[in-house]
Every structure is written in structure tokens, then in C-alpha cells.
Symmetry: C2
């Protein structure tokens, strides 16, 4: 039986500091209604969907920002979203900021199955930016201040008869992350992101170049692991800061098959035939035939580049 | 002092079965003359520059194809090329088929410094294709029949004040290969290729899609390791088989800065400022700050994909 499914990406326009979780969840549910009307069975929301991208703000005492984090999931604010998805028998994934009972802070995403159960929890592995205030930057990007590096590794789950795994934002630029999922047979990689339109250390790197890097990374990751990918933005102006949009769905051959037109709340959809992942996985990217793990040792024995010539 | 250098790519049009090494070397020298006139200080030739791409032909006894291999380098046929480069004080790299004194066959490339010395020898790690005749293919691609998998690993050398490393053809699709070079601080990756314009198992994958995959892989590898890359084709019609052209020079931001217009012998050039590699290596791809090698273990402990969900 062919494994065809309509997959959606729910791009979310900027969320201002003053917006409540409930207001955001209402916007998410509106997109879920639209997705259901279009036959979507699995829906991808962005990274840090419930709040503004607060790592652009500096506070000396990190605990002052605990109010941006969720201590349980689902919780009162998100329960209606879980309920609606269950009603629609729709699986979904979204990102949020997780504060554990032990006091650890992570940039997290979950996959929820059509019965409303959380079947995968992933914590962002590659935190970009910096931990201290850096005056030379045009804006701050303090993810290394507010989050711990994820401790889950790269996980997959079989949900709705598809092998799915999550990456979050900056993870998409790291081929190691894609390959870890590829080595588990992934067929759908979901990626949420909040990406400033401007490199904060390089004036000439604006939105056009940055969208190119985004697409390059996602298309290469999809192609080189023969997997579908859905990459979804929180985008537009947020607290006076611009983040690019460019949500895309990419096929296992590395081609963009759906993309967002605007920067606000917007649904993109594509019918995915997951059996199409098999061709690449059995030919050019047949890992069993072609990989050379014995030659890849620097990838795990070195963290930093070492110049020895 | 800025490290600027004009780098060239010498695309070679199809070489027919009947052409001699001497005839091919004469074509290579003509492009070298042109490169010298344009100020090129380092020149990149394709994979298997000296002969036709013979892995499209099947012979039962592999030894019948030993005549496609070189038993020493330089040799009588290539010495004039080495001499010309020395006269011009030009470094260069090219690929050829290597038969060792011990009887081993490799798909090899060398980097030659401006004094004419071979300073790096690389043997192709990722052999595509198959080892036996397969009737269901539109054409054969028997690299796994005629070559051993390379045993050198991914090497760099400091030549002309630039950290250089080689990949060959199919290697460019494997992010592990790029990362191994990136972890050694590479600033210029050279890639020679012979790539059929048609996927021999998928009728709908013709030259347009295949050039896209080529560019995607090279641009992503350059961007994600913040290195220049020069990828050069042997292209056009060879013994009735078409190979795509698309030779490119890519900057460390992943953008194409020079590309071939045709499918024949053609020089492309770009001025490269190797100090530009430092920005990416110290920010978004600062490996010491951002990589997570402890999470990448599948990359070396697994060869094949393992589906466990």
C-alpha cells in the first residue's frame, strides 16, 4: 500500500512580547483548522512557537526569564491545541522552551501522534550565538545563555507509518545532525526555526543571502539522506526585529515542492509519497554500499578544527 | 598580508577511446597557457583527466583495462605538463588512474606545487556504481569493478600558503568527506568529476536535476566548512555517452563565483581571498564552540542505516 500523506507547515508570523500563550495557541488552532480542511494529516509548527524569540534580550539573572519556559506539556494553554489535533486525527510537532523539574532549560520540540500522545521529545543540539552580552553585535543572540545543549541526541519515531525525526533551527546547518537521522532510516525531518534576517556581525549578509543558506542546508540534508523535510519559520517582525520566512517542504531528491509566499501566519502543504525515499536510500545514498566510516574518525574524535600543516 | 590568488578550473571536453595521453596533455597545456595569461597561480583539472571514462565499459578480465592506468607519475606523457607548470610557477591538481607496484588500482588525484613536486596524493574514498554487469541500467558505471576504495583518507597540504585538500567526483555528495577536510582547516577543496547526465536507473533524472544535485552538494560543503571549492568536469560526449559540464568555483559563503558556459575544453577563473575563510570558521561554523561530537557516534559506529523503530 502506498504511503502517501498530505503534510503541512504552519508558519507563524512574529509574536510580540505582550502576546499570551493563549493568543498564540488560538493562531495555531486557526492554521490547524485550515490544515484539516486541506486534508493535512501531519502538521509542523516552528521552533519556540509559543513565545517571542527572547534570546535577543539580555538579562543578568537568567531566572528572570523562566516565565518564557513551560514546566509541563501539554499544559493549560496548549491543551486546546492537543484536543483539536486529536479531534482531527492529525499528528503535529512544535517547539517550545522546556524547564525541567530539575531546573534545566532546553530548546525543545515534541512530536504528537494523532491520539494526542507525545511520542518523541527532542532537545536542540546545536545552540548558536553566545552566552554573554556582546556590544559589537547589531543584535544579541543569547541562546547559549538561556539554554543547555540538548542531551537527547538525534531521535526518530515511527508515527503514522513514517519514520520521523526533529531538528531545531541551527541544527539544520550541521550535516552530522542530518546523517544521525539518516542512519536511522529517517523519512521525514521536521525543522522549526527563528532566524534573524541579518547576520549580527556582517553587514553585507542580509535576508537574501541568509535565505539561500537556509535552503541550501535543508535541500542538501534532504537529498544526502533521501528524506522529506519540512522547515517552518517563525518570521516577520517580532519586537522590532526581523526574521526571514521561507518555510519550505523538500522532497527526498532535494527539491523544494512547497514554499511560503509571505511572512505571516501561513499554511503550506504538499502530498508526500514516503515510498519515494527508498530510491535514493538504495542507490546513490545506499550507505551500506558506499559509506566509509573508518575514514570519518575526526568527526567524533575532534570537536574543533586542528591545523597541522 | 592578504592571501589573494587567482584560481582556475580547466574543464576538459570528452576524451574518446582512441585519443592518446599525449593528445590529451596537449589540450591540458593549452588551457594552462591560457590560465597563465590570466594570472592563474593554481589550476584544477578533472578526475581521470588523461583517458576516457572507461568504467562505462565492461570487461570480464579486469587486467584487460590496465592500459588505462599510470604506473608512475609524472611519466613520459605528463612530464611536459609538469615542466610547463614549473615554468609558469603554477601549482595544479589533476586526476588519473593509478596502478601501484603492488598491483592495486585506485582512482587518484595529486596536488603539484609550483616547483613541480607532488605534495599530496589522494585516492577516491567513495566509489559509486557497481562491480558486475547489470543489464537493467541504461549504461554501466563499473567503478567498483576497476578500482579499490581509496586508502589515504582525507588529506590536506599547505601549498602556496593555502590549506588545500582533494575530493574526487562522488566524494562531493558525502558531507563526511567535506567535514574531514574542514576539521583540518581546509581553505580550498578541489574536486574533479566525470558525471553521466542521466541516472542509469531513473529515466526522469536527466541533466537538469543532476547538475542541481552537483551544485547543491558542492555549495553546501563549501558553506558548511567555510572553504573555497573548485569543482571541474570532464564533460560533453565521450564515446557516445554524455556527461554534464557545470564546472564551478564556490566561495566560503557557499555562493558560485565562476562557472563554465559550455561543455568543451574551457577555463574558468576567480580571484580568491583565502582570508575570507576565517569569518565562517570563527562564527556560525566555529566548530570548537558549536559541534557536538559526542552525539555523532552513529557516523562512525554504523556503516549502513539501521531501522529500529
Amino acid at each position: 500500500m502506498p504511503r502517501k500523506m498530505i503534510v503541512g507547515g504552519a508558519q507563524i508570523g512574529g509574536i510580540q512580547k505582550a502576546e499570551t500563550r493563549e493568543e498564540v495557541v488560538a493562531r495555531m488552532m486557526k492554521l490547524m483548522d485550515e490544515a484539516h480542511e486541506k486534508g493535512v494529516e501531519f502538521l509542523v509548527y516552528p521552533e519556540m512557537t509559543l513565545t517571542t524569540f527572547f534570546p535577543r534580550f539580555y538579562v543578568e539573572d537568567r531566572a528572570d526569564f523562566d516565565h518564557w519556559f513551560e514546566t509541563e506539556m501539554p499544559n493549560a494553554a496548549t491543551q486546546p491545541l492537543f484536543d483539536l489535533a486529536k479531534k482531527y486525527k492529525m499528528g503535529f510537532t512544535f517547539g517550545y522552551c522546556e524547564l525541567t523539574p530539575g531546573g534545566q532549560h532546553f530548546n525543545t520540540s515534541v512530536i504528537v501522534d494523532p491520539e494526542g500522545g507525545i511520542v518523541l521529545k527532542y532537545r536542540k543540539s546545536h545552540l548558536p550565538g553566545h552566552a554573554e552580552y556582546e556590544a559589537e553585535r547589531t543584535h544579541q543572540h543569547l541562546e547559549k545563555r538561556y539554554f543547555l545543549e540538548g542531551d537527547t541526541g538525534f531521535l526518530v519515531v515511527r508515527n503514522q507509518d513514517v519514520i520521523m525525526g526533529n531538528l531545531i533551527c541551527n541544527d539544520r546547518r550541521w550535516p552530522e545532525a542530518w546523517r544521525e537521522l539518516g542512519l536511522q532510516g529517517v523519512e521525514l525531518v521536521t525543522i522549526g526555526y527563528n532566524t534573524p534576517s541579518q547576520n549580527n556581525l556582517k553587514a553585507e549578509e542580509g535576508p537574501e543571502r541568509r535565505v539561500y543558506h537556509h535552503r541550501l542546508s535543508v535541500c542538501a540534508g534532504a537529498y544526502q539522506n533521501s528524506t522529506y523535510a519540512v522547515a517552518v519559520a517563525k518570521s516577520g517582525v517580532e519586537d522590532g526585529n526581523h526574521m526571514f520566512a521561507g518555510s519550505i517542504i523538500v522532497d527526498p531528491d532535494g527539491f523544494v515542492i512547497a514554499e511560503a509566499k509571505g511572512e505571516g501566519d501561513e499554511l503550506i502543504t504538499a502530498e508526500c509519497d514516503f515510498d519515494k525515499c527508498a530510491f535514493g536510500k538504495s542507490t546513490v545514498f545506499n550507505f551500506a554500499m558506499h559509506r566509509r566510516p573508518e575514514l570519518y574518525t575526526r568527526i567524533v574524535t575532534q570537536k574543533a578544527a586542528k591545523v597541522e600543516v
